[in-house]
Symmetry: C2
Subunit: 419 residues, 2 copies
């Protein structure tokens, strides 16, 4: 099965916005055993869209487009596709009724230009839009033979309209039209605290036999994390994936923190909630990023008491009880200060765990003994305080991200340790 994705949008080619559709749609499809073979991005121009769609149709069984379904003059996808497929645009009464309802609720007349959003190539299948006005559309034409028509799916541009529509309507439609020829299974195993080549060194050899039986193996390195992805599509796929997961987890041990969409902060909130424990975070150089990531998790309020972003020395003394002598003797970026920050934070509030970070984010502030990128991470609880020293010599924003990930992982490892 050959699938191509076409993203339309002049702003994409001007580099004004990131093409998040590409990753999101490709991932949704890959996770169900479908792979996109090509992705193309063109401007909002009828000639460009026509040429890209025509080329894709010369190769693909299924073409998916995003964008260009709005009510303005640069929304051209609907017209171009109808023309290419030799179909008339007709009013879909169901869609028109939805549009009328939308404006009636807001006590406004339907703007003339919004009515074009009810036009669909004749015979199209309509995917309702629960978060906007432009419906998704699926239209087809005879392919090489009548039993294998080529399909084209048009999706609206805004992510909050596209994503729910894709999950609720487009994916089931694709799965029905193009059923998988063999079972497909995959698993993403997520690790932290170990580099990509070290991960590969540990798992590639033990997986050789499964690879010979059809297992596909891939790695994806992120900032401070490496994902191992295994997939299989044959009669033994389910069994292959279960064996592969067991081997990867054995080989990587504590470096494994989760699966699929898990993030370190999810695991932390889940573990703390399960054990009814609370957390306080004292951050200097990460500037609130750890607190921000933890509070992205729904339900974090049950375990997260507070975050102290003590950027100045005064704040470290006032809110965390770090001693002036310690600051004077060791400097703000030191093992001793990381320790006092964590212990002080815990004492202030009676939190079960306290995590602290102090370091030099740069670009300035480094010295020979403590160059830019130096960081101390402290963790305390009902156990002896731990302080680790790392070197993260990256640009400021990457430094913060890597350091926050290391701090979260220190806590995660402690929480997942067998007692």
């Amino acid at each position: 099965l050959h699938i191509e994705l076409i993203n339309t949008g002049t702003e994409l080619l001007l580099g004004r916005v990131l093409n998040s559709h590409q990753q999101w749609i490709c991932q949704q499809l890959a996770d169900r055993g479908y792979e996109v073979t090509r992705q193309v991005c063109v401007a909002d121009s009828a000639a460009q869209i026509r040429s890209a769609v025509n080329e894709a149709l010369s190769r693909a069984d299924l073409v998916i487009t995003t964008g260009g379904l709005g009510p303005t003059s640069d929304d051209l996808t609907r017209e171009v596709i109808a023309e290419l497929f030799g179909k008339t645009l007709v009013i879909d009464v169901g869609v028109l009724a939805e549009i009328e309802k939308f404006f009636a609720l807001r006590k406004k007349p339907v703007p003339e230009r919004s009515k074009v959003q009810a036009l669909v190539p004749e015979g199209s299948i309509v995917f309702p839009n629960r978060n906007g006005l432009a419906p998704g559309l699926a239209t087809n034409r005879g392919g090489m033979n009548e039993n294998n028509p080529q399909w084209l799916i048009m999706l609206p541009g805004p992510p909050r309209e596209l994503r729910p529509m894709f999950i609720e309507f487009a994916l089931p439609f694709i799965q029905k039209q193009f059923p998988a020829s063999s079972p497909f299974f995959f698993r993403t195993i997520r690790t932290a605290g170990i580099g990509e080549s070290a991960v590969a060194d540990r798992v590639s050899e033990p997986l050789q036999q499964l690879i010979a039986s059809g297992l596909e193996l891939g790695y994806c390195a992120r900032v401070g994390q490496v994902d191992v992805r295994v997939a299989a599509r044959n009669q033994r796929a389910d069994e292959l994936i279960r064996s592969a997961e067991r081997i990867v987890c054995e080989q990587l041990g504590d470096f494994v923190f989760g699966f699929e969409e898990d993030q370190l902060e999810h695991v932390i909130v889940r573990e703390l909630t399960a054990h009814k424990k609370t957390l306080l975070v004292a951050e200097s150089c990460t500037g609130g990023q750890i607190a921000n990531r933890i509070t992205n998790v729904p339900g974090a309020s049950a375990i997260f008491l507070a975050g102290q972003v003590t950027y100045s020395n005064e704040a470290k003394q006032k809110f965390l009880g770090v001693r002036a002598e310690t600051l004077a003797q060791h400097g703000a970026v030191s093992e001793a200060v990381a320790r006092e920050m964590a212990e002080g934070a815990r004492k202030q509030t009676g939190a079960d765990f306290a995590l602290s970070v102090t370091g030099i984010a740069g670009p300035n502030g480094g010295s020979d003994a403590k160059p830019v990128g130096t960081v101390f991470i402290g963790l305390t609880g009902d156990f002896p305080t731990v302080v680790i020293r790392n070197s993260n010599p990256f640009d400021r924003v990457t430094f913060k991200e890597v350091t926050a990930t290391q701090a979260l992982d220190l806590l995660r490892q402690k929480l997942m340790q067998p007692k």
Copy 2:
């Protein structure tokens, strides 16, 4: 001038990573008056790369590829391009020397497979890689006529190798090979606190005359922000852009917070630094995002005293001095608590400004009177405390982002106000 961009990488089509090259390269080119007309993403397969490059060469004057220059078996770009251009791969002695130096410094022998990175299509121009081993390469072949050869530029995949190389070597090369036929100027004017259609309503009419003279006008809506982008490419371009900027700023007044790459947090750090003022942030529902954004700005430590992420009621009382009666009487999400958080935060530390946020991020915790998305933002200083109430009924992560932007913008407007 017709430019196409080809990103190679199986992980892109599996949706494992975001294609940040696309936005970054397109933006760098657009800001210098060059527009990419098509971007294509294909897997690391010789057949796919060959077909994509061939198609691009049938249309473009300049093709840029990213990725596939590493030392492993799925790095195929170099070979495929050499074959398409009918050129032999030859060892570049300069590149080989760099590779040997790299491993000598690390006291390791040169791995056999790393030597392929010294292979270049004969006659290529080499762009040094200051952050890795694979050099960038520019190679050409006769186009329609001898005076207009077609160029192909190959860039390495890792962003920290690609970006400096693109700026230092690829861009000057492109500007020399394809000099602009007319002057090009552009300006991005950034606004906050006003929606896209309201921005368009205010500026499109007053800009009509300039548009008739060749001004290009575009909008880009982000979360809580709208950019207005004006560009012109003719003999009057400079003057057109200056006039357009003046008109846009007049029409949008205080909604304009900056230009080009400015972000609200940059403007805030800049203004506070210039006036030697300090800031404290007291966050509840934004969970540290405001502190995190401010501390992304180099030099933030000069103005940012501390952030208090007081997620629990106890923390609001202990660290900010919010009164138990106020919490009991009005609830944690209230005008009164936002006011006490800001005033308490300022009193604790003597900061010149204190910003506070309390709200309901969801998905749970809403009520009829205060549904999910309700937020109160407070600002205090040497002026009467201001508290605004907003409704941001979005998913949790979007809610945090929009709310943080609104809070930063409240402070920004105060700082930019004429005294």
